[in-house]
């Protein structure tokens, strides 16, 4: 274990995660005006529809898959009686399916961004970077999943690479501040690459339009349709309190008097 390993599996991930967290806090505090999904639907609509829908729905399930694979320890599955083989069968098929969907989507979005001139002209560097990086990360993830099988078949290795016994515990170990570097050293290159690229993406995340992920407007479901704001909120609140407490003035009924 040399300094290089230290850097790749401890220093760099922590730098990326700290940037991710502090970056979001900073951006949220100082750049509300810049916090937007940055849609280009106004400029082009047909390709966007396909790209955006494929990508978002695909990535949503890919994300759930990652939670299942990285955050849920393998012991939990075993205790639940899910055999390693059936886990990997599901992971392979569902993962590949949604991975391909997300990949197709992000590919289309990248093509659209590069080749439609009204969009290209109005895209900033960060957007090019993150869109491109998303493509590479998704591609590398898919390549690791599928590619490893092909590789393993050629060299007579076990067909399923059990990342739940190295990558997953290493990832979790970052969060209780006892990073287990040794777990990552023997991981196949494709998986290593996928992990590192993903951390690079995390580092850029707070400074890009990806922040919109944290703005899923769930509050919409609970609020009333019409929103009022007062330029004098205190007065408005106390007025409303008075209203509720006291009775309406006598003799006033509903509607305009004829």
């Amino acid at each position: 274990m040399n300094l290089w390993h230290q850097f790749l599996w401890v220093i760099f991930p922590y730098l990326a995660l700290v940037t991710f967290v502090l970056g979001h806090i900073y951006r949220y505090a100082y750049d509300q005006f810049g916090w937007t999904a940055g849609s280009s639907q106004l400029m082009e609509r047909r390709l966007l529809m396909w790209g955006v829908l494929l990508f978002h729905w695909g990535i949503l399930f890919v994300f759930i898959g990652h939670v299942m694979g990285l955050l849920v320890p393998i012991e939990v599955y075993r205790a639940m009686g899910v055999s390693d083989h059936s886990y990997h069968l599901l992971a392979l098929w569902a993962g590949t399916l949604f991975g391909v969907i997300a990949l197709a989507g992000i590919l289309l979005l990248n093509i659209r961004r590069w080749f439609i001139s009204r969009i290209r002209t109005n895209t900033d560097t960060m957007r090019f970077l993150t869109d491109g990086l998303l493509l590479v990360v998704i591609f590398s993830g898919l390549a690791a999943t599928v590619g490893y099988r092909i590789y393993a078949a050629q060299y007579d290795l076990p067909a399923e690479f059990e990342y739940r016994e190295n990558i997953a515990p290493w990832f979790r170990s970052l969060f209780y501040f006892a990073p287990q570097i040794e777990l990552m050293l023997e991981v196949p290159l494709m998986f290593q690459l996928h992990v590192l690229l993903a951390f690079l993406l995390f580092a850029l995340w707070p400074f890009s339009s990806l922040v919109h992920v944290f703005s899923v407007p769930l509050g919409y479901l609970r609020r009333s349709y019409i929103q009022y704001r007062s330029s004098n909120p205190k007065a408005a609140i106390s007025r409303e309190k008075d209203r509720r407490k006291s009775r309406k003035p006598v003799g006033v009924d509903q509607g305009r008097k004829e």
């Binding site: 937007t36 280009s40 002209t121 919109h212 899923v216 009022y228 004098n232 003035p249 008097k257």
Partner: protein
Amino acid sequence: MRVKAQVAMVMNLDKCIGCHTCSVTCKNVWTSREGTEYMWWNNVETKPGVGYPKMYEDQERWKGGWQLKNGKLELKAGGKLRKLANIFFNPDLPSIDDFYEPWTYDYETLTNAKPSEHQPVAQPISQLSGDPLDLQWGPNWDDDLAGTPETGHLDPNIRGELEESVRFEYEKVFMAYLPRICEHCLNPSCVASCPSGAMYKREEDGIVLVDQEQCRGWRYCVSGCPYKKTYFNWETGKAEKCTLCYPRIEAGQPTICSETCVGRLRYIGLVLYDADSVEEAASVPDEKELLEAQRRVFMDPNDPEVVEQARFDGIPEDWIQAAQRSPIYPLAIDWGIALPLHPEYRTMPMVWYVPPLSPVMGFVEGEGSEADPDDVFPAIDELRIPIQYLANLLSAGDEEVVRRVLKRLAAMRGYMREKNLSGAGVEEIAASVGMEPQAIEDMYRLLAIAKYEDRYVIPLAHKELAHELYEQRGSQGLDFAASRAPAANGGNAAYSCSLDFAGGPGSCASGETGAPGGSPRNEGFYAMKDELEKKARALGGKVAAPNVQFFKNKQDFESFHLKGRGPQGAGA
């Protein structure tokens, strides 16, 4: 009953000359920035015509506004869950080509041209991509019925019976201009559609704004507004819309579009309405009943009980008085000659229109005719095309409503002419449209000769407790200057005006540079602002609102206005 005040507008369409001054002044002030080139918060469209954006009135396609679903009011584009399920891609959003692709010209070829046999030509260049553009559509492409034989049938108001007759009778055209701004609706579907809760109606004056900091760019307000009066800024990724020039309204001044209106056809004033009955009125099942229901929501500001309730609901005394002097209530209720645009969208728009008599007069005797009511009334009774068309615009297709209004307008002309010529028979004319002679004369005065003070009755905003506003800084309208650009006048960001930012409208830049043409009115305004800032500093920097006015009383306010306007003010 809960009385609220709303700033409302009425436009008298007969007087609109289609000069687009209103659109241009609004654009100069509000939307001359990158990302907003294609936005016309005020636009003037020729009717019949496709409108801006193209066919925006076709709600089957764009799904703007509200509809009744099982007797309950629901957004036409679907409820909240449906919206969240569609959050990645808004299926009902018009693309920029439905507005138009903004362009400029390659002027350099002209200025750098060498002597040559042929004139050099400046090519149009897209302001979106910088590429050369083959112009196919632009703002007011069908102005004055240009190209209407090709595009006119796309007008969503030409439907049913009209569809056949209008197509065949284009030689006998009729035409009217329709200036449109945001309606600042009582039941705004844009606000209801915003998943982030960034849009809101101001409690005090009903102005509908987008919080630029809270907007996340989901674009549902754009598709949710049936009038397509919220726009998506493709540069900032946020929605923007007409602000009803709230900094001016707060200072007791009319909006830019009204102030500069050449036809002097706009009226601004307060209406008092019953906030508790809005939903019920917007949910009336029969579309043709909607107009009456909307009228019932307005409260008579001279009714002592209403006044008492208004006081109880915290409406300041001078606002109640302003509502009593408001030109809107008589136009919309007493005389009933102003009608809402497309009441069937159920948003309860607050910009109403006096329908134009000229399309009818055109059929009787040619434009500008002084025809007798004896000639005009039968025409109003018999003419189908312009009246049905106006009814589709202004009364959910109820022709009787439009007929009644047009007859009142025609009667007013006849009445005044008789009165000036012979003085006889005027009572009968008034009676024939069910009005008192005095009411007709009042109506005539307001429509024909009203001065500035009578057309715009706008009370000052009450910002005595302005320090409380400090907490709300940055949450209104276009107030993003403070976070983005340093204040232009070098002041503390807390004092910076919402309009002070690079390339921005600059309405609040310091006096010498900001006042167009150095008009005395504007000087007064800026002097006020300087004064205000001094006060703000003395108070320890706790005043954020750019247009807080410290008038002590009404006389103070009026003398400021009269002094400010000077001899060259409009209407003088």
